[in-house]
């Protein structure tokens, strides 16, 4: 069994290398041409190359997701846990996606209480935030997204979850279309998209949430979703026009989706 796992792991590593190798000169040469390395370009050439680069980056991201999932499946995902500030990682992820949020007219904010440092894999946790935020952005057309971080022990009585102890509790909430309760378990499975099929509206591989779940669980945490929806079109929600404007509480949409996950303060990391 151990030999099979090693064979699997070696295969995944080899595939990761082989798939990413041709992408390397593709992406680099595109950047070079677009940056004027070989001379100036006209507007149409720039537009064409931007399209190619955008799709090359998308392809690279998809390959990364597939490889990550394969590694998790083979029990070969490695983690390097270093003490740090989870809120800082959340803010970094948010700042990466804020331009996309602005384009859609959505707010994207991070709210963090006083948090102790804890040991976690910064790159992988960044990936969790990006995946959850990306998911929220995809399914939210009005209002916005908020990341809230606090100690689980600060959660009011009646709202706390048994067994959370003193973990850090992260909520990624959006005012989007929501997820019906019967789909809550399904969405964390690989390749499951609620609008999958020939007429699907939203792009994506359906791997982001499965990967986020794998990373959180490898840190000894839990991840789950709270949501009501889908939301009716005539719910009377005011459209927020500026991403920097925090809406008043009374105008917040009552429905949407919140992904919650915990990060233990005491590392119980396992190879995932």
């Amino acid at each position: 069994m151990k030999k099979l796992t090693k064979v699997q792991a070696d295969f995944v590593t080899l595939m990761s290398h082989e798939l990413r190798t041709p992408l390397t000169p593709m992406q680099a040469q595109l950047e070079m041409v677009m940056g004027g390395f070989y001379g100036s370009l006209n507007a149409k050439q720039k537009r064409s190359l931007r399209m190619i680069l955008r799709n090359t980056v998308r392809l690279n991201h998809l390959i990364k997701e597939i490889i990550d999932l394969a590694r998790m499946d083979a029990g070969n995902m490695s983690y390097t846990c270093v003490s740090g500030d989870v809120a800082k990682v959340a803010r970094q992820a948010a700042s990466l996606l804020r331009p996309q949020a602005r384009q859609k007219g959505l707010y994207l904010r991070v709210r963090a209480g006083a948090l102790p440092e804890c040991a976690f894999d910064h790159e992988r946790m960044h990936q969790v935030f990006l995946n959850l935020l990306g998911n929220a952005l995809k399914y939210t057309d009005r209002g916005g997204i908020e990341i809230a971080l606090e100690r689980a022990s600060n959660v009011p009585q009646g709202k706390s979850i048994p067994g959370m102890g003193d973990d850090i509790l992260v909520r990624v909430s959006d005012t989007g279309i929501g997820i019906a309760p019967e789909h809550h378990a399904l969405i964390f499975e690989p390749f499951k998209q609620l609008d999958a099929g020939a007429h699907r509206v939203h792009e994506g591989s359906g791997l982001g949430l499965a990967i986020a779940k794998g990373i959180v669980q490898a840190h000894g945490g839990r991840i789950w979703v709270e949501s009501t929806g889908p939301v009716a079109a005539d719910n009377g929600v005011r459209i927020i026009s500026s991403v920097d404007m925090a809406p008043a509480a009374s105008t917040l949409q009552a429905t949407g989706t919140t992904f919650l996950f915990t990060i233990p303060l005491q590392s119980t990391r396992r190879r995932g």
Binding site: T24, M32, T80
Partner: protein, 120 residues
């Protein structure tokens, strides 16, 4: 500027890196791995080596071990798709003078920034 040797079995990656590094003012040489690298590096005497970790037919650590025996002073940047553990990182740094890692596929600015940092 610096003398930089590129070690990768993919000719397009080698060409791309050479174009970028020469444009940045460096002198470059290229090899596609293995024995060719061990011969050429002794003639070229690079300040810095940019090396892919997965080349067919050889383990990069075996190659680094053989390079170590040549007692040349070049620092090494590894181009990789895998993450090394902390323990592996310590060995790579202390024993083989690996000073940085670049993920594949790399962004142009990341390659140039890493080379600039380690060729001052």
């Amino acid at each position: 500027m610096a003398r930089i040797m590129i070690v990768d079995d993919n000719k397009d990656i080698v060409q791309t890196m050479q174009d970028l590094l020469r444009d940045a003012g460096h002198t470059t040489a290229a090899t596609y791995g293995g024995k060719d690298f061990l011969v050429k590096v002794q003639k070229f005497h690079p300040d810095l080596i940019v090396m892919d970790v997965m080349m067919p037919g050889m383990d990069f650590k075996d190659l680094l071990e053989q390079f170590l025996q040549l007692q040349l002073s070049a620092a090494i940047i590894l181009v990789t798709v895998v993450r090394f553990s902390s323990d592996e990182g310590v060995v790579l740094r202390k024993r083989y003078r690996v000073v940085d890692y670049i993920k594949k596929p790399f962004q142009v600015k990341d390659l140039l920034a890493s080379v600039k940092k380690h060729t001052r």
